[in-house]
Symmetry: C2
Subunit: 253 residues, 2 copies
């Protein structure tokens, strides 16, 4: 295992407002000088926009369950219908904050199935998560390789709330070219002692690092992380689906 | 709010094996050229060691509750006694993995009250978390200022497991000179639209970024993060205690 050293994190400049069909990987490759081993973290919002995941609320017909929940939560029933549609189950109802904590169709646990109805140019619309964030990451990775021939890793990130802790932190919801988890179990340190670090959520940590460089008041949805070339793999890898704790093993459902 | 830009993350070299009474802040200041606005992230282990939080298991007398739990978990009852002693409550018992998820005396929710019995030079010993990680951060911050006169922020970090997601990620358990949470609610972006980002767990994200630069097989417990000067405050700030979700408001107890 090679040592680690300096990490540079910087935003990719010059990305325009993203609409459906936009070549995100190509735009990143055009706006920054990518090096082999770079990791590109892209926020879920622009990925969803490029994939046409925008839904006009006027097209949504709320069912009985959504209407009932919406009343309890003080939310638009059409939004609740979308949230339910993007979920496998509702884990908690938080009427105080007007949110549903759900397990999404992907197996992610987060607020409101990641459905976002704020900060959109379109009024009365909502943005769903990508249908398959790992496939999104793979596609963008291929776009980058096609554009400039450089091997990178791509992370699709989103800001999620956490149990027990206030605030949201950026985590990886999709990835390609990097393993989301690093397994340090059984390894020894330089003195031969077994390391206590177990399985490290590397992709999540990269997503968090990327967010530190992001300027929230202007468009910097894509961020470059340089210095993790030893983590970038030839193959796409197992994706972020592999880091979700199976419901049967999860003590917090 | 000033924009964000490039972030540099690099390990502080040259720190020796830390023992009780060690001047961590002074050592960091001596081993790296600190600049105003630098953030220093230090892993909890060396902070605990410097504070004499090492306990010889031979000195621990397990009570009845600890003995009973230890049998179910397949753990050393003296270790369980320490875990219980460092906790306010047991939230979950995971006999499969032999861990107790507890709320620590600080209000942190984590495995085994953060008590660590691996990777120690001393056999048959365990390392407790710092008694007050925010005070630890303040102390180290003062040590740095005394040594070199530079204003920094200090984060005491630890690798914690998460609900719903596999693996552990580094988070901030103590901090000084940086607010753990950034409140973006109600702010607008460059087009005047209200931002959807709510409260960002900045200190946790910094801890995660720091861990990416850390070399786990050799001694790099302290990591410098440069580029966040706009986040470093004159005062110590509210500390990480302010980012713990109060039990009464937490849906996952």
């Amino acid at each position: 295992m090679t040592g680690r050293g300096e990490i540079h994190v910087f935003p990719v400049p010059g990305l325009p407002e993203v609409t459906e069909g936009f070549d995100l990987g190509g735009a990143v490759a055009a706006n920054v000088d990518l090096q082999a081993g770079d990791v590109v973290a892209i926020s879920q919002k622009v990925v969803s926009k490029s994939e046409g995941r925008l839904v006009r609320l006027a097209t949504v017909e709320p069912g009985a369950r959504a209407s009932g929940l919406a009343e309890r939560l003080g939310k638009d029933p059409r939004l609740v219908e979308l949230i339910l549609g993007e979920s496998r189950s509702v884990i908690r109802e938080d009427s105080d904050r007007g949110i549903l904590i759900t397990e999404t169709v992907h197996g992610l646990v987060c607020a409101n199935s990641g459905v976002d109805s704020s900060n959109l140019p379109e009024t009365d619309a909502a943005l769903l998560l990508p249908e398959d964030p790992d496939e999104s990451a793979r596609r963008i990775r291929r776009q980058i390789a096609s554009s400039c021939g450089v091997r990178t890793a791509v992370i699709v990130s989103d800001s999620l709330g956490r149990a027990w802790r206030l605030g949201q932190a950026e985590v990886a919801i999709g990835c390609a070219g990097i393993a989301p988890l690093e397994d340090w179990r059984g390894r020894t340190d330089s003195s031969g002692r077994e390391l206590s670090a177990t399985v490290i959520a590397t992709a999540d940590q990269v997503a968090a690092a990327a967010d530190l460089a992001r300027n929230k008041t202007s468009r910097t949805p894509a961020v470059l992380i340089r210095g993790l070339a030893h983590r970038v793999t030839e193959g796409h890898g197992p994706g972020c689906a592999s880091q979700l704790r199976p419901a049967a093993e999860d003590l917090f459902r």
